[in-house]
């Protein structure tokens, strides 16, 4: 049994014995679930709403979860697929069902790459990290970021360029 699988088993057993420990499962997997959902959601608000529902459903179902040696991530991705399918069914209001998909090996690799990238964002110099967060997470315009940081728009664009170059280098790309 790999360390990850053993960690997963302990996490699940702890949460089944004491629901308050479910936050440990959440902490470990929320970013991965969010990335998976976000690629299939129309916008951030929907991605956040669906991610919330995934963990609410996981919490509600953890008592019935049977440990079969599969990664907890696979269980959460399956819940996420079903939640997304519900969302699309409601949205399209058509009889056909959106095919629930779970990530294949290629997508799992992409998810892990993005998680690593986000860890590198946290290690960026303060101003660069703030620009990345405001631009991509808060979806602020360059003008809004400039006003918030009390910098010129040109300076913010420079910070944005430096941040992306640093991230690319950290991820093994050529600078």
């Amino acid at each position: 049994m790999s360390q990850t699988t053993e960690d997963d088993r302990l996490l699940i057993e702890a949460a089944q014995a004491d629901p308050a420990r479910f936050v440990d499962v959440y902490e470990r997997y929320v970013d991965r679930v969010y990335v998976f959902v976000s690629r299939r959601a129309e916008n951030r608000a929907v991605a956040e709403d669906i991610t919330s529902q995934v963990f609410e459903r996981a919490l509600a179902g953890i008592g019935q979860f049977e440990w079969r040696g599969l990664p907890v991530a696979a269980w959460l991705f399956r819940i996420a697929s079903n939640t997304l399918a519900d969302h699309w069914r409601e949205r399209s209001r058509e009889a056909h069902e959106a095919p629930p998909d779970v990530p294949d090996a290629g997508e799992l690799e992409n998810i892990e790459r993005r998680i690593t990238l986000y860890q590198h964002v946290e290690r960026l110099p303060d101003l660069q990290r703030q620009v990345i967060r405001m631009r991509f997470v808060e979806e602020k315009s360059i003008r809004e970021v400039a006003a918030a940081l009390d910098r010129s728009e040109g300076a913010v664009k420079q910070l944005q360029l430096r941040a992306l170059e640093n991230l690319r280098k950290s991820m093994g790309g050529h600078g």
Binding site: D18, P19, A20, F22, V23, Y26, E27, V30, D31, Y34, V35, S38, R39, E42, N43, R44, A45, V46, A47, E48, D49, T51, S52, Q53, F55, E56, L59, A60, D86, H87, E90, R91, R93, R113, R114, L117, Y118, V121, I132, R133, R135, F136, V137, E138, E139, S141, I142, G154, K157, Q158, Q160, L161, L164, E165, L167, R168, M171, G173, H174
Partner: protein
């Protein structure tokens, strides 16, 4: 394009990525392309505020789970069941004609009139008929109801004697909805979801819609008294526009206006603890905890006049 500075070309690409527009032009720009790939991955960067908020929500929920278990809920019911008091019979017929409701139980109520339990889609309602003595006052309440075809349901409601409060129209919050009042004054906000911004996905067919003059304060009270979890709270200029709270596995919606209080049955594992918690949060007792033929039950009234009855059904 290439004669423009790199910082501007990159920013155009990021703008397109963030707004989910076509950013493929960047792939033909050898300076921008490698950075655009990093930028495309950043679009899915989870908001730290969001993950912290969701964590807090789950923590509150797990605290709730330790004091209540779903085994206490009657089969077919959810945690919260609205109890509608009306002066005489007739509401059941209205619900059957308009929403295809089904009566699942009827019997003599403790106040002397009929007590009915009604299934509407995946939701349950209780109705108390008659003006006899009883703790729950006769008073109209409001509901948000999702249906397949709002226009047809609205027309059926008018044919069944309802008064129009607003013809079906497409609303900015992703619904087509029409509003009616039944002959007892209960208001039914009938809706069909139009798009992803609709709250339909988070609700069952029938959800109580409550009002509070200062919604923020009332939300705070519901969280403390009932362990409610706020899922959505939209505010604008210090005024609450809309909030959705979850109590156990049921939802209630809240708007800022003069209250139209109602009565609610909550199925819980430990009514004694929940009753005490509500009193500690500022509610007033209207029914001390006691063992009744149908289960152990106690009730409180909150500062707006809403009544909450905590019940653990008999096995």
């Amino acid at each position: 394009m290439a004669d423009r500075p790199l910082i501007d070309r990159l920013d155009d690409t990021i703008e397109a990525i963030v707004s989910r527009a076509d950013a493929t032009a960047a792939l033909r720009d050898p300076e921008v392309a490698p950075l655009a790939r990093v930028a495309a991955d950043l679009r899915h960067y989870p908001s730290p505020d969001f993950t912290a908020r969701l964590r807090a929500q789950l923590e509150r929920r797990t605290t709730m789970t330790s004091v209540s278990t779903t085994t206490a809920i009657r089969e077919g019911f959810t945690t919260v069941t609205p109890y509608i008091r009306v002066r005489e019979a007739g509401l059941l017929d209205f619900l059957v004609q308009v929403f295809d409701a089904q009566e699942t139980f009827s019997g003599q109520g403790s106040g002397g009139g009929m007590h009915r339990e009604v299934r509407v889609g995946d939701s349950m309602l209780m109705i108390g008929e008659g003006t006899g003595a009883g703790i729950m006052p006769v008073r109209p309440v409001s509901f948000h109801v999702f249906v397949k075809d709002v226009d047809a349901t609205y027309a059926r409601a008018l044919a069944a004697g309802a008064t129009s409060l607003g013809e079906p129209a497409n609303r900015p919050y992703g619904e087509r909805s029409g509003y009616v009042a039944d002959r007892f004054g209960n208001r039914w906000f009938i809706a069909t979801a139009l798009g992803p911004q609709s709250v339909a996905g988070a609700l069952r067919m029938v959800t109580p819609f409550m009002y509070a003059p200062r919604a923020g304060d009332y939300i705070d009270f519901l969280e403390r008294a009932l362990g409610a979890v706020t899922e959505t709270h939209h505010e604008e200029g210090g005024r609450s526009l809309y909030a959705r709270l979850r109590i156990g596995d049921a939802a209630i919606e809240l708007g800022e206006a003069e209250p139209t209080p109602g009565s609610f049955m909550l199925y819980v594992a430990d009514p004694d603890a929940r009753y005490q918690r509500a009193l500690d949060a500022g509610a007033t007792s209207i029914m001390p905890i006691s063992d009744e033929p149908y289960g152990r039950v106690g009730g409180v009234e909150d500062p707006l006049g809403n009544q909450w009855f905590f019940s653990r059904p008999s096995r």
